[in-house]
Every structure is written in structure tokens, then in C-alpha cells.
């Protein structure tokens, strides 16, 4: 535990944040930096942040006082893979939206989880392509109105959390921006755990999502997130049809599995033994 008092300022560059009023990204920044603070990091020197394209990708880049790599759309996880394999001692953290990580970049997420790459991925799920003005996303609820589904979405959303569990992630949790304490604790757990950690942060976008589905303000959206959330234990007692449209929150996986780096060491460590690496 850090002895200093918490202030987001010591981790942030002196640049104003670009997010709309009421955006969930403010909450997620607070949760993340508070988690980092409580884990005892005085600065972000041991971290490298990777992000793609979309509002959530602006969380670390360029705002965190750290090494930040803002990649092309959907490719933050592959870039993080190269970083982590060459510098396994660094904490590699990926921030991205639902479009970035489970739309265009979905394949990479699954494979990184399968490899159990030792990184932490924080997926901000606002259920919409916010930066481009509110187009339907792979996470948009069924029948929700968006700019590209003016009559309502006719597709069912992807459950990224359950997918990450199935793909082999070591740590998986989902919380909403209403559950700030739990989200902060999940981020701490994700950072502490060895292996692939996936944290889905269900978030509000009143600007590009809420106002088209009758949830015009941040308060409306947070109330909606709160009322739609079901703790994992309760969800286990519910039927599939009862769970349609609900957000199941909680911890979904916590298992110590060998990481990619550990597996490389185990399988071909004998070949590399004694070789100078630089």
C-alpha cells in the first residue's frame, strides 16, 4: 500500500481529457489509477500501455505519464504480444473498447487468452461505436436503436467475458461503472495475477448510445446499469430467458495457469540456456 495520498494527477500528463460529459471513461481512469496506487506503484514506470482506436483507447494515450503505444484499430493485443515477449518484466496493459477488442480485433483477443499471455486487458464496453457517432457494435443489445440500426438492432450481443473464460484467460471479471469499488478491486486482481487478465468494464455513453435508447443522462444510464446487473451467484439460479438483456457481474475466472513466457521457457528453455539475450 502506498503511503502517499491518492491523486490521479501524479499518474497523468497535464493534458485535458477529451471525453464527453458523463462518459464512463472518467470513472474507469479513476478505478485504474486508484488500483495502481493501492498496489503501491508511485508512478507508471514499470507499465507499458497499448491501445487501439476508439474512445477507450484514449484512456492511457497520451494521458498516462507512461510509455503509451496507440496502435491501429483492433491491433493493440498483437503489439502487446511483441512487447511482452521481448520485455517480460514490464506490466503490459491494454485498454480498448468493445468495437476495438471484440469487433475488429476479436481474433487477437481469443488467441492472446489461449496463449495465456501475461498482460491485463481492460475492455470498456459502452455497447456502441461512440467515437464515430453511435453505430451498432457487436455488444449492442438486441433491438437497440443506433445510427446504423435505425429500426433497432437485429443481432444479439457477444458476451466477451464468457468468451475470455472459454479461451483460457487466467483471470476474468465483469463490473459496470456503477460498481466502482468492485471494478477497482478487479483491476488490482488482474494486475497482480500471472497470465491473461480480462476485465470487462461495462460503461455508459449517454452521448452516442443512451440518448437514442431513452437514457439521456449519465444518471439514467448508471441507474439502468445498476438495475440490469445481476451478480454471478444470482444469475446461476436464473434461466437463460430470464437473463436476456441482463449484465451478469462478478469474477468469472481465477486460475493460476502457466503463462506464455513460462511455457516458452519450459519447452525451449534448454535451447536458449546460457545464450546472451542482448
Amino acid at each position: 500500500m502506498s503511503t502517499e495520498e491518492f491523486s490521479t494527477r501524479k499518474y497523468l500528463r497535464d493534458i485535458s481529457l477529451p471525453f464527453c460529459p458523463g462518459c464512463g471513461n472518467f470513472t474507469i481512469i479513476n478505478c485504474f489509477l486508484r488500483a495502481v496506487h493501492e498496489l503501491g506503484y508511485e508512478d507508471l514506470r514499470n507499465f507499458v500501455f497499448c491501445s487501439g482506436i476508439g474512445c477507450a483507447s484514449w484512456i492511457p494515450s497520451p494521458h498516462f505519464e507512461a510509455d503509451t503505444i496507440h496502435t491501429t484499430h483492433g491491433r493493440s493485443v498483437p503489439v502487446a504480444t511483441g512487447l511482452k515477449l521481448v520485455r517480460p518484466e514490464l506490466n503490459v496493459v491494454v485498454f480498448g473498447g468493445d468495437g476495438d477488442l471484440v469487433g475488429i480485433g476479436l481474433g487477437h483477443l481469443i488467441h492472446a487468452a489461449r496463449r495465456n499471455l501475461d498482460i491485463t486487458v481492460i475492455m470498456v464496453n459502452n455497447m456502441i461505436y461512440g467515437m464515430t457517432g453511435g453505430q451498432v457494435a457487436p455488444t449492442t443489445p438486441f433491438k437497440a436503436t443506433t445510427t446504423t440500426t435505425p429500426y433497432g438492432s437485429f443481432e444479439h450481443p457477444l458476451d466477451a467475458t464468457r468468451l475470455a473464460v472459454a479461451a483460457g484467460a487466467s483471470y476474468v471479471a465483469r463490473w459496470t461503472t456503477f460498481h466502482r469499488k468492485q471494478m477497482k478491486e478487479a483491476i488490482k486482481d488482474g494486475l497482480k495475477m500471472k497470465g491473461f487478465a480480462f476485465i470487462e468494464a461495462v460503461s455508459q455513453c449517454p452521448t452516442a448510445f443512451g440518448r437514442r435508447v431513452g437514457l439521456k443522462t449519465m444518471k439514467d444510464m448508471l441507474t439502468w446499469l445498476k438495475e440490469n446487473s445481476v451478480p454471478r451467484d444470482e444469475a446461476k439460479k436464473m434461466t437463460e430467458s430470464e437473463l436476456v438483456g441482463k449484465i451478469v457481474v462478478g469474477e468469472f475466472a481465477r486460475r493460476r495457469l502457466p503463462t506464455l513466457t513460462e511455457n516458452i521457457r519450459e519447452v525451449i528453455g534448454g535451447v536458449t540456456k546460457g545464450v546472451k539475450t542482448s
Partner: protein, 383 residues
């Protein structure tokens, strides 16, 4: 190949020579995806690179491969991927990203017959213009063209050196024939091979994306707090997505790094280009026929000169213009439907007649006899 104290001879396949060249150049990271006719590069490195402290990973696709290479490069490793046409197409967005973020890396493209899946096992030279213009926006590329197993080794090393020197992605644009054939090659004493490493910043440096033509490149995790972005950025890496001046300063410098150093980068082999009456310009596997033309000139009492391009981009216009001062006709044989032909034509500005010789499909080469026939026919037209 470990560090060797004397020169030695090997009987290698082109792709093996490429992999060995990468190791000598200091490559410590390879990410790739299986594709004919490039897979042997990955296979050979998977076997050998760990012995040199490097990492090889097979990614889920070519987009991820170049992404991982870019991450590895920012982590401080010399990094490479190898692919062929379809994979090269998938990598184009990330090539632009590597160019914009000044990320040194090597992309090997073993050309096969396209477009699309085309003839996957057969040779082609159809990616020449894609290698120059494949990503969106204004940019300049460095593209090397080996024509032998020896050059698969040498130009792979040069590709790494250029990437490190100019802080930019470099493409080794080989072809199926050069990549799959086996030849004797000589590798020199390790001390005789020049290896270039990127300039690192001093502790007080903070401009990693400008001020100098080629700014120093920090490694992540060393406290520089570097902000890397594919968006238009100033010299400190901060986004300026509306200011025309910031965009102009950045993109013109990035393009200038390559075009201002054209003479240092562009490399070629010349034969009798002073006072030649007939000229031939070729590259890659097709250029192997050029050596057969040397005797033809004597027989036909015509001075035949040739230029064999070892660098396709930046295009070495000056040497082509020199040839056009005396040559009335310049032939351009290539395994595509005219690509470098247009570049030669543009360079000579009407000073010589430029005649294309093209062939595609089935991996069939343009034979020396066919070039000779074209030259004889062309000579009749001229006289």
C-alpha cells in the same frame, strides 16, 4: 549460423539464407503466419533463432504478425516478419503505422503469382507497385530486390541496417524462384559484416519524433514516457489532428528521410552502360538472364548495357537517365504486366524508347533467348 571467424561456403536455399542473414543482422524477434512460398523463413528461424537468444512466434494472421513485430521493435529488439502477396496485402495498414511511428522492422515478401490466391506456388513479380504504394496516404518505402541466394543473405542484412539507420520499415521484395532455389553462397568473417543499430536517446532527450531528420528511438520501460501514435503528431509524439503545419512537417520529414537519401539507399549493378546502344533494366529472378546478354552484343556488333536493380524503391532514376543518354532502346523484362516499365519510362522522359517484356503465370521465367529475340527485333525497328 554462429559468429564465424573466417569466411565459409554453404549450400543454402534462398529462404534459409534470408533467415541466416537476419540472425547475423541481430534479429531477435520473428512473428509470422504460414504462407507459400515464404514459410521456410519462419521454419528456419524457429529452429535457429532461440539458439541466439531470440523469440519466434506464429501469430493468428499476418496482421497480428506485423503488430507483434512492431511491439517487439519498441521493446528494443530487431524484428522481422516474412510473408507472400496475400499476407503482404493484410499487412499494409500496419506498414503505414510503422512508417508513421518510425518503427524499424523488416518485412520479407516472397512474391508469388497474384492477384488474390492466384498461383500460390508459382513465381511472380506483381507486388512491385504494392510495395511502393500499398498503404494509404503519402509515404516513401525502401524496397530491396535480391536476385540470388547470396543476396537473400546480404540484402536481408542490409534491410535490417537500413531499417535501423532510417527508423522505418524496410521490405525485402524477393520472389519464389530466388527464395526456393539452392546455391552455393559465401558468408564472410563476422567482423567484415557491417551491422547498424538504431540511435538511442540520451537521458535528457525528449523529441523522439522530429527535430532531427532521424530522431533517436527510446525503448519502452526505460523511463522516457514515450507517446507512440499513428495519428499526426509533433516531435514529442503528441497528437495534432487538425493543424496543417504539424502534418506537413511530419509527413514531409518522413518521406524526406527516404527521398533525400536516395543515392545512399539505391543500389544497383551495371554492365557497359556508358555508350550502350541497347539497354536492359531488370531485377530479381528475371535479372538472372541479363548475364547471358553480354556475348550477344559482340555477336550483333551492338553495345548492350544493363542495369540490375538491387533497390526498387527509392527508384534509382539517375542511373536510368544515364543509360538513356546513349541507349536508343531500353528493354524492361519482368514477371508482371508492366510495373517497373512505367517507372523506367517516367525516368527517361522520352530520351529512349522503353520496351516492356512481360510474362505471367505458371512460374515460367523470361528466358535469355526471349530477351535476345526481343532485342534483335527492336534493333531492326531502330535501324
Amino acid at each position: 549460423m554462429t559468429k564465424q571467424k573466417s569466411s565459409s561456403t554453404h549450400f543454402w536455399q534462398g529462404n534459409e539464407a534470408c533467415a541466416e542473414g537476419a540472425i547475423i543482422a541481430g534479429c531477435k524477434f520473428f512473428a509470422g503466419y504460414p504462407i507459400t512460398p515464404a514459410s521456410e523463413v519462419a521454419e528456419h528461424l524457429a529452429l535457429e533463432l532461440p539458439k541466439h537468444g531470440g523469440t519466434v512466434i506464429q501469430m493468428e494472421d499476418e496482421i497480428a504478425s506485423l503488430g507483434a513485430v512492431i511491439g517487439a521493435s519498441w521493446a528494443g529488439a530487431k524484428a522481422m516478419t516474412a510473408t507472400s502477396g496475400p499476407g503482404f496485402s493484410l499487412m499494409q495498414e500496419s506498414i503505414g503505422y510503422a512508417f508513421m511511428t518510425e518503427t524499424p522492422c523488416v518485412i520479407v515478401n516472397i512474391q508469388r503469382a497474384g492477384p488474390s490466391t492466384g498461383q500460390a506456388t508459382k513465381c511472380g513479380q506483381g507486388d512491385v507497385m504494392q510495395a511502393r504504394w500499398g498503404t494509404h496516404g503519402d509515404y516513401a518505402s525502401i524496397v530491396l530486390s535480391p536476385n540470388s541466394v547470396q543476396e537473400m543473405f546480404e540484402l536481408t542484412i542490409r534491410a535490417f541496417n537500413l531499417a535501423e539507420e532510417y527508423r522505418t520499415p524496410v521490405v525485402l521484395l524477393a520472389d519464389e524462384i530466388v527464395a526456393h532455389m539452392r546455391e552455393n553462397i559465401t558468408t564472410p568473417h563476422s567482423d567484415e559484416i557491417a551491422i547498424v543499430n538504431r540511435k538511442k536517446p540520451k537521458p535528457e532527450d525528449d523529441a523522439f519524433f522530429g527535430v532531427k531528420e532521424i530522431p533517436p528511438m527510446p525503448v519502452v520501460g526505460e523511463g522516457f514516457n514515450v507517446s507512440v501514435t499513428g495519428s499526426t503528431h509533433n516531435e514529442y509524439g503528441y497528437r495534432f489532428t487538425a493543424d496543417p503545419k504539424v502534418h506537413q512537417t511530419l509527413v514531409k520529414r518522413l518521406v524526406g528521410k527516404v527521398t533525400n537519401n536516395r543515392d545512399k539507399i539505391a543500389d544497383f549493378e551495371c554492365h557497359s552502360i556508358d555508350s550502350c546502344e541497347v539497354g536492359v533494366v531488370s531485377y530479381g529472378c528475371t535479372s538472372r538472364a541479363l548475364y547471358e546478354l553480354i556475348d550477344l552484343g559482340e555477336k550483333e556488333r551492338t553495345k548492350i548495357g544493363f542495369i540490375r536493380l538491387k533497390t526498387l524503391w527509392p527508384f534509382p532514376e539517375t542511373i536510368i537517365q544515364k543509360m538513356a543518354q546513349t541507349a536508343e532502346t531500353i528493354f524492361v523484362p519482368e514477371l508482371n504486366l508492366r510495373q517497373i516499365f512505367y517507372e523506367v519510362k517516367r525516368a527517361v522522359e522520352g530520351a529512349a524508347t522503353v520496351v516492356p517484356i512481360n510474362r505471367i503465370g505458371g512460374g515460367e521465367m523470361i528466358t535469355p533467348e526471349e530477351i535476345k529475340t526481343e532485342i534483335k527485333r527492336g534493333m531492326k525497328r531502330v535501324h
